[in-house]
Symmetry: C3
Subunit: 423 residues, 3 copies
């Protein structure tokens, strides 16, 4: 059992959380009001996205055998704070007469903004405290809102499903922070950094709700909504078949790997995001899904181990393979499509140069921002756990006694040994 | 293993259930018909509420280590019967030419009516038989429909998200029944009255689907639908941050408690219910959520143990803290808001006096009705389990042999002892 | 532990899957385009059906203690391939100017088509390889599309909730294949062909999402959409009460059985399918649900064991009782209703003769098609597992070491025995 939580921690976390909530309420009191034109049209879309954020991301990360409470619980904490902070940060760029208007669409955008912090959380999973994650959420959503404004209002690029502004941004932000927060003590695989049979089953709940509602994610703020739905649906389906095929192919015994099925099947949704609502025809969407599946499987299989051992980047959930590389792929697809076809959005012709600028700025801001945030999170004051207590809920949670199958097994062994010794 | 289910039980339960179903079908044949004006507009809202009732309430109660089958199964039984009975009981107050019209809105209201019985089930969880629960459902929904009529048609009070008529009603009905059904033998904590790691994970499925779809619950029958959505969304978010902060603060080692995260995070949805569709501004909704979180956490931490030991009220799921106190808080918020602002609903000005009357009548009818129902359920004929078999699925279900982690542990110990004895 | 997967298998599966995906993309490139009239009206309905296919069917089959990865994983594989193949097979019957138009409605129909393969998968669960299942999906959806065309365009019969064309078709197709693939070695119950406590809990996730969204399934392509929703809702509710009653009644100790609650509660949704959007009045829908519940419970209790022992049909999930018999019941209900009332659909009067023809053709095509498919799947080349490795994920998946509670128990026993032997 890990040692008791530093008791000073409880005051630090509680005071930080309460302080942030008070600040948010005061800012809401000053700046936020109902939109005068409240339509419920987008509400089913909003609910799908909402389920993705809390159930999808939350359960996807429960694959670790002893970190399920933290995965689903801190995911909820981050998202519940982020959706309040996101309204403010995104709203400050679009104020009218000193007021931020809230409606279903701005709630969708706020939910979106939390996704960046949740993706970064995936890279850092098991190695950061809730105090650190609240600070990261605060900083990342602030920078996300700036980059999003740059991409959509300055460059006037399209990124309707947010391949670049959410997925690539969240991934490289988290990876840069992970690099700064590198733990040499975790070079050898930590005994808790693995799944059990049931933790893998819980993670599939997350996978499926993400997979199913991804068309809503990519189409929620699209002009050509049904086109975005159709493209995303087929990209995901094609990606899934390829993921199964490659998962078997890259394994020496030809067996499927749950980590690939849980993650790489979703890469098609990420990669088709930027051009989801463009008329690229379903077969092109499928082609994008196929490439995304290939890139993602190969990333998990060959790149993640190398990044951990050579590049000092420990990426717990492999967000580089699910959000990073497929996000860049989405950005590139946007460049290619706008180079081939003339597409107009909001009265502006989309150009490959501006799409490339959007991708470049996103990566640059994410990496610099993530590294700076990582440096801030390194302040010892913030309650980072020791290497030994990584990936273990009991550092932060009251955990029921017979907590995991693994523990019983060990306690059995212990009794056995004591018994032998006594003879 | 508990002793075999009394074989006479199977006839009692089966005959009661079949009899009730026959009565319902006959009454439907006589009274119920399709509404002539069938619109599918509210169907997505209905589905969200439907998910809350069956998945949300069902899985929220699966936290007990050996009572998951009963939690999710009896929840389904109660809700499936209640939604039929609710149409009749609510419909009798609104008949036109001797007919009850069914449409999506009346189906939502029927789903709502089952929530009262499911909340009361939470207080009684693990201590009552399915026979008792069918009778409770029958009686509670009948009284709920009367009180709802009183509140909305006689007092013309507003309670759009049903803080009073569902949450407070269901909680105090269940608590009054629990008082009457008090079991002195359970004064010391029952060994099965606790969670395991995976049962807590299953419960989080319930928590998240309740949390996510609560805006649909509070807005389903609202005039100002989007206002109700926005207020509920922010109340829940603020409540969640406060719940995490206080969960750490009230624990001596600063650790989070799953029971608080599973339950108190939802109190914001309950408390904002009464005035969800009033223009209270998002920051006020957040403020209500904050108070609800504080009340709920403190209730779980300090009040529930006292109620069990001093007041002879054993509240298994802590419904007093999730539905009871936040429900009263919602009623009070309604009184305050109608006192400050002039609000009109259905052509009537809302008055604090009528809001207070609604809250008072709800509490009175719930407590008297619950106590009477408890007295009826006490009839030994109805198959209440012995104290020893409380909180144990195997009293009512065929359970797979290696049922819980705990059992293996014990059986291991047993073998061990036998082995030592044999030496 | 099962022996290593035949390494040649990985090439066979991967090449087959990649080849199929390439063929699909080429066919999409040639034939498929966006519909010119893209409406998002049906999108919430689509999402409900989508959840049923991936979460509902997927988790419903996770009840086996060591086959959860395969259940939810291969379910995803089959559905992701099937929804692409279904668009093509259904589309070839409705081409306009050489093109298949994709819109939300055709995506719903494609999701529907995958349900047939998933139902057949339920009969074969644990006994077939993913190679076999891809081939079955290909063949079954092709034949399904032909039969559906026959039923709806030639016979002009109604089957709005697809009691016949999906449920009965999928069930008898799978049962005929199971007959051909009969394994004498599994006559005695396989040790892995059973559930654990938590696998039964996971299966309830599937049950509930199927139960909740079944009204969307039956109404998705209905003209009288809300009528179909109401009828399905009440049929399911009545079926659920009857299932609980009979589950207790048929057990010698009066206990409920999870397999019945997981499955027979859904039979009301199947049986009301054919006449879901006809004005049969809610009480008739309930009556259909009651009969479906009775038939399904009795089927699970008495028929399935006989079919396995006498008829050489091993039906792992009991699809005969959930989809087969209730599907026929739905077909018969359609005959009866069209005989009693004059109903018109698409300008044609529905006749009992045509309804009967639809039922007959469906059963005939399903049984012949399933038997032929079973014969093809019998080719040894396709990687069928040995009897011993049936119902075991580790034949196809990398499985975490301490995989199930059961294993620990056994490994404990093993150590113990070795220990005793050593003394």
């Amino acid at each position: 059992m890990p040692p008791d939580f530093d008791t000073s921690m409880k005051f630090k976390f509680s005071i930080l959380a309460l302080l942030l909530e008070v600040i948010v309420i005061v800012l809401f009191g000053i700046f936020v009001d109902y939109d005068s034109n409240l339509s419920a049209n987008l509400y089913p879309h909003f609910q799908d996205v909402h389920v993705m954020i809390f159930v999808g991301f939350g359960f996807l990360m429960t694959f670790l055998k002893k970190y399920g409470f933290s995965s689903v619980g801190f995911n909820m904490l981050i998202a519940a704070f982020g959706l309040q902070w996101g309204i403010l940060m995104q709203g400050f760029w679009h104020m009218e007469r000193g007021k931020i208007s809230v409606n279903i669409e701005s709630m969708i955008n706020a939910d979106f903004s939390t996704a960046t912090a949740l993706i970064s959380f995936g890279a850092l999973l098991g190695k950061t405290s809730p105090i650190q994650m609240l600070i990261l959420t605060l900083l990342e959503i602030t920078m996300f809102a700036c980059n999003e404004h740059l991409v959509t209002k300055v460059f006037k690029a399209t990124d309707v499903g947010a391949s670049m502004t959410i997925h690539a941004f969240g991934a490289y932000f988290g990876l840069a922070a992970a690099l700064v927060l590198y733990r040499p003590g975790l070079t050898n695989k930590h005994e808790n950094d693995e799944s059990t049979y049931h933790s893998d089953m819980f993670a599939m709940i997350g996978t499926l709700f993400l997979w199913l509602f991804w068309p809503s994610f990519n189409s929620a703020i699209a002009e050509a909504r049904v086109t975005a739905i159709i493209n995303t649906y087929y990209s995901l389906a094609a990606c899934t078949i390829v993921t199964f095929a490659l998962s078997s192919l890259v394994d020496k015994r030809g067996k499927f790997s749950m980590v690939l099925i849980q993650n790489a099947t979703l890469a098609g949704g990420v990669a088709v995001g930027t051009c989801a609502d463009l008329e690229i025809h379903p077969f092109s969407a499928m082609f994008i899904g196929v490439i995304a599946g290939i890139v993602s499987v190969l990333g998990f299989q060959f790149l993640t181990p190398v990044m951990a051992s050579k590049c000092r980047i420990q990426d717990t959930c492999g967000v580089h393979n699910l959000h990073g590389l497929p996000g860049i792929l989405g950005g590139i697809a946007g460049i290619v499509v706008t180079a081939i076809k003339t597409e107009t959005r909001n009265g502006h012709v989309l150009t490959p140069a501006m799409q490339a600028a959007a991708l470049g700025s996103t990566l640059a801001i994410a990496i610099v921002g993530g590294a700076l945030t990582g440096a801030i999170l390194k302040i010892p004051f913030l309650g980072q756990v020791s290497d030994q207590n990584c990936f273990d809920d009991s550092a932060y949670w009251e955990v029921p006694e017979e907590e995991t199958v693994h523990e019983i097994h060990s306690s059995h062994r212990d009794e056995h040994s004591r018994f032998e010794a006594a003879m």
